[in-house]
């Protein structure tokens, strides 16, 4: 084994998991383990206790409540990718899933884990935000629901408090008017994105309304390009150049070893053009 020693407990139920999390300060939820175990193996992190929620029943369902799609926290990426409901009613998520890592990782990694981990370059947090979804959380103080807009707080930092478990995410189901678009640039297929864009809007005549363009890989959290959105809502597709220019105000990516901040902003513009074109004519 590679990580530092830790205690392990397998939760029988959601309540049991919450109870276990309360027994040790710094205890952590173990879901698919595809991010957590890697960090432990590199000894970047050494929690005293892992609470394995994989045996908790009821968290691995994909449901279709009225007008919404609900994905349980333990739904594996691969399971979501194979789901008819996701394909039909949450097409943005279906578009994003193949970009997450590789089959072996998608077989274990969970939707809830991706959202809770909140990697700034991950696909699903951006989709959740673009779709104006929400997150169900259960903790020692009971249940609550948090809007995606209020969930992602900082680098790997979310609204989840100590001892809380994310149980499901919910997004509005697709309607005939809904347009979505997705694109990302990665070093190689399956890598975390250098820059990515998840977008959602309502088609209105020749233009878009209520658009939400969420970039990832360009900041500490998924970032809504609010100025660009406003331009597109106001001017329609004619405003594309102006919207791209507005990204200069919306995005402030920093340099990393793969790309300079400047290059990332340029690439964000390239993605915006590609995605908007696609939303303009989804059947092209």
């Amino acid at each position: 084994m590679k990580p530092a020693a830790f205690a392990y407990a397998k939760a029988r139920s959601l309540d049991h998991a919450i109870e276990l999390l309360g027994t040790r300060e710094g205890a952590r939820v173990l879901a698919g383990g595809q991010s957590l175990i890697a960090a432990l193996n590199m000894r970047l992190d050494a929690p005293p206790l892992l609470v394995d929620i994989n045996g908790v029943s009821g968290l691995d369902r994909i449901e279709r409540p009225d007008g919404q799609v609900e994905i349980g926290a333990l739904v594996r990426h691969a399971q979501a990718l194979g789901s008819q409901v996701v394909a039909r009613d949450a097409p943005l998520i279906a578009r994003a899933l193949p970009h997450i890592a590789h089959p072996a990782i998608r077989n274990r990694g969970t939707v809830g884990g991706s959202i809770a981990y909140a990697d700034p370059a991950a696909e699903l947090p951006a989709c959740l935000l673009a779709l104006a979804g929400e997150v169900d959380i259960t903790g020692p103080a009971g249940r609550r629901t948090v809007k995606a807009d209020d969930f992602f707080l900082g680098l790997f930092e979310t609204a989840l408090g100590p001892g809380e478990i994310l149980t499901a995410i919910r997004v509005p189901a697709a309607t005939p008017q809904m347009r979505c678009g997705f694109a990302e640039l990665a070093r190689r297929h399956g890598d975390y994105a250098l820059v990515g864009l998840a977008a959602c809007a309502r088609a209105d005549g020749a233009g878009l309304r209520d658009s939400r363009f969420v970039f990832f890989g360009v900041g500490a959290t998924p970032v809504r390009a609010r100025k660009a959105e406003a331009v597109l809502d106001a001017r329609g597709f004619d405003g594309l150049d102006e919207a791209v220019a507005a990204l200069a105000d919306d995005l402030h990516p920093e340099d990393d070893i793969h790309a300079s901040g400047k290059a990332k902003r340029h690439l964000a513009g390239v993605l915006l053009r590609r995605v908007v074109r696609e939303m303009q004519d989804p059947w092209a």
Binding site: M42, L185, G190, A259
Partner: protein, 790 residues
């Protein structure tokens, strides 16, 4: 794959299993089922675990290493530091290259103990070894070793290392220069440049790569107190050479060390050296009386396996008015890293001299290389070890020269290629090219790649908003020089035949092609032949694998050994068949009295000998031979790769869309395996040119320390690779074999970078250095546009 047609193949066994046939590798079923035995699969009774404590500083003075807390932890048996090894009297790890400075003084080879006592010189350098009952105990204790290092400023870039104010790694190496190497007749070269009609000058980087063998390095050390003998199980490139390196460090007689190697999961030059980690493990085995095992985890591999390439050269080509080459000059740097590795800096010195000239006629050459120490991981041999670098520098120079002079890039190559009629050809570095049809190879490649149809494809790419470029990469490599090799043949009690040789298969699949040679020469059925290569006790000599020498040397040793078996067999058979030895012929596995139907099979004869025969004293009592071949001279594998790429100018993403390679590897022992070698080499070349970017920060921390950041190519990065052959057998070894293991890289670096540069020429970019990551390509396009606008 195309298979050589042989007229002697009326024998069905030869048709299926003889030399030249695409026989599947005998080890494959085992390896793909996970039944191979790599070093870490070996388990020894009573074994304990070693974990290395590594430096987190790139450069610093070791003030103190406090091991007391670690030693008190559960399960810990010992913690060793450099001081312990020094007290035990071990020697240092050696560099074997006899290079001289241009002033005639020898290369500076600072002594390198396995664990340093004075300074650390790169992040990842081991400074202590913790030995414990379990791996976890050793890991936990390793974190408790307190290493007090007084940090010193680090130097990372080669050119910076060679400045008066640069931090100096070794007192004995001012300006961090290990060797100031020079080759060539400066006056003659200067004269050629003076009368040139055109001179092309280009500064080129051959970028640093992390070797990334699939199997990490590992060892298990044992010591037998009764005999005073060390045994090391270790992945390497030749047990005989590894044994000699260890004998030297341990300071014991040669018979006190045994090296055992099982399956090896890739090495590419990297595992050839005796690494520091092996020494504390051997020491611990002796001190503790228990087997001691160590396996690198992947993060350690990044920080401790020798890296590859890392050269920067100013290259110059002098041409007459018709574009004929008059001379070339290469002046530059080779990074050696924190210490001199076993064969560093062969790659940036002698192998540039030998290989940069490639298959062209250039009368005068000059190479000046400063090999410099830096606070980075050691740089040593990596697939080609200077051959791909040299070929790359030449081919880029040629493309740029052609563009500058307005000569077609194919035409300029044709004008300068050595013609078949000029062979044997003595190159300016003294190599004698014995065979080859360079223009023939080029023609076939152009045809196979549909070179002339490019414009159409380019237009089609442009419609999709993509830039398209094509790149030629001709290459010629000089494989390893002659060195002794063993060819042992042993007839075993169970009726099998063992072939013993000192090259080592680390993934190439040696067992099958070497067996094919014996099928051919002795008529032994393929499935009866076993290969022994990984036990130093069974070798009289062994040159190891490296420099693409195994096929040519072990096949020659096999042929020579087989001849000895036949000679002996004739004497024995003549006694048995009651005929004169002169009347005995050997064909297809049988000794026959000429002109009769009386005969005995080779294996039958071996069986009879085992049963006991009454033989007169002048007749050999065994068919076994322990032959030592003198080795065969360097061969000159050559070929032409043609790559086509598409670049998305908006994102800088490069995609390889077509890839063709035509090669002359002489006689192919087994074309299926040669195809595999080519595929692997090309993929590594594509990896180096597109994604693999080793990045250090200014403090000497390796930023690309995992595969999340270090972008190896993936299946989706690689196009279909068309591999064709245009064989001209070598005349200097019995089967006409030429080395093929490194050639894929030699052709791929050149064709890839020429193709990328071809596509970028649209923006007026004269030369773009590898690696062509999206960021770097995009940046280059932006800069070019800015320049144009200004």
């Amino acid at each position: 794959m195309n298979i050589a047609v042989r007229d002697d193949l009326n024998d069905p066994a030869l048709q299926k299993f003889g030399v030249g046939q695409p026989v599947a590798r005998s080890e494959d079923p085992k390896l793909v089922r996970g039944e191979g035995c790599y070093t870490d699969d070996v388990s020894r009774p009573g074994q304990v675990y070693a974990v290395m404590v590594r430096s987190r500083h790139a450069h610093g003075i070791i003030r103190n290493i406090d091991t007391s807390a670690a030693r008190a932890m559960p399960g810990v048996l010992a913690v060793y530091t450099g001081a312990d090894l020094q007290a035990a009297g071990y020697g240092t790890l050696k560099n074997i290259l006899p290079l001289k400075n241009r002033d005639g003084t020898p290369m500076r080879k600072p002594p390198r103990p396995a664990l340093p006592t004075d300074k650390v010189r790169c992040v990842g350098e081991p400074v202590a070894a913790v030995i414990a009952e379990t791996l976890n105990q050793a890991k936990d204790a390793a974190e408790a070793v307190v290493v007090d290092i007084e940090p010193l400023p680090a130097v990372i870039a080669m050119e910076e290392a060679d400045t008066p104010d640069a931090p100096q790694l070794y007192e004995e190496a001012p300006r961090n220069i290990a060797v100031d190497f020079h080759y060539g007749d400066s006056e003659k070269v200067a004269a050629a440049f003076a009368q040139a009609a055109h001179v092309t000058r280009l500064r080129m980087v051959n970028s640093r790569v992390v070797v990334s063998a699939m199997e990490p390095r590992a060892c298990i050390a044992e010591y037998d107190a009764a005999t005073g003998r060390f045994t090391l199980h270790v992945g390497c490139q030749g047990v005989f050479g590894m044994k000699n390196q260890l004998v030297d460090v341990l300071g014991v007689p040669p018979d006190k060390v045994r090296v055992l190697t099982g399956n090896v999961g890739g090495s590419f030059g990297m595992k050839a050296a005796a690494y520091p980690e092996y020494i504390p493990c051997l020491h611990a085995a002796r001190e503790l009386g228990r087997p001691v095992r160590w396996t690198a985890d992947r993060s350690e591999s990044f920080l401790s396996d020798h890296h590859g390439r890392d050269q920067v050269f100013d290259c110059e080509l002098a041409l007459d008015k018709d574009g004929r080459f008059l001379a070339w000059r290469a002046t530059g740097y080779a990074n050696v890293g924190a210490h001199l590795g076993n064969v560093a800096p062969l790659m940036g010195t002698l192998n540039i001299v030998k290989n940069m000239n490639s298959l062209y006629r250039t009368p005068a050459i000059e190479v000046s290389t400063k090999a410099v120490f830096t606070n980075t991981v050691l740089v040593s041999a990596y697939r080609g070890a200077g051959r791909p670098e040299g070929n790359y520098f030449m081919e880029r120079l040629i493309d740029v020269a052609a563009a500058e002079m307005g000569i077609d890039r194919v035409e300029i190559r044709r004008r300068n290629m050595i013609q078949p009629s000029e062979i044997p050809y003595t190159s300016p570095s003294g190599s004698v090219y014995d065979s080859g049809d360079f223009p023939g190879v080029l023609d076939r490649a152009l045809k196979a790649a549909d070179w002339d149809g490019f414009e159409q494809r380019k237009k089609e790419s442009a419609k999709r908003g993509k830039l398209r470029g094509r790149g030629l990469g001709c290459f010629l490599e000089v494989t390893a020089p002659a060195s002794k090799e063993m060819g042992g043949i042993r007839f075993e009690p169970d009726g099998t035949v063992t072939f013993i040789t000192g090259t080592l298969d680390y993934g190439q699949g040696h067992a099958t092609p070497f067996a094919q040679v014996l099928v051919d020469k002795l008529g032994i059925p393929l499935d009866r032949i076993r290969l022994v290569q990984g036990d130093s006790d069974q070798l009289l000599v062994g040159g190891g694998t490296g420099g693409s020498r195994s096929g040519q040397n072990s096949s020659a040793a096999a042929v020579e050994a087989a001849e000895k078996v036949i000679e002996k067999g004739k004497l024995i058979a003549s006694h048995l068949l009651e005929a004169s030895a002169a009347d005995i012929e050997f064909a297809r596995g049988r000794f026959v009295i000429s002109g009769t139907d009386r005969s005995i099979g080779l294996l039958e004869l071996a069986e009879k000998l085992r049963g006991g025969m009454n033989l007169p004293p002048d007749v050999p009592s065994t068919l076994d031979v322990s032959h030592v071949s003198e080795g065969v001279p360097s061969t000159y594998p050559n070929g032409c790769h043609i790559a086509e790429v598409e670049i998305d100018p908006e994102t800088g993403v490069v995609e390889v869309v077509r890839y063709v390679t035509v090669n002359d590897f002489g006689t192919l022992l087994n074309p299926m395996l040669v195809d595999g070698q080519l595929h692997g080499g090309v993929v590594q070349g594509i990896g180096q040119t597109l994604g693999e970017m080793t990045t250090y920060d200014a403090d000497g921390q390796l930023l690309t320390g995992s595969y999340m950041d270090y972008a190896l190519p993936r299946a989706s990065t690689v196009p279909n690779i068309e591999v064709l052959y245009h064989p001209v057998p070598a005349t200097t070894n019995p089967l006409g074999v030429k080395g093929c293991g490194e050639a894929g890289c030699a052709g791929a670096l050149t064709s890839m970078m020429n193709a990328i540069n071809d596509a970028l020429a649209e923006f007026g970019i004269r030369h773009f250095d590898m690696p062509a990551t999206p960021q770097r390509v995009w940046q280059a396009i932006q800069e070019a546009k800015r320049k144009k606008a200004a």
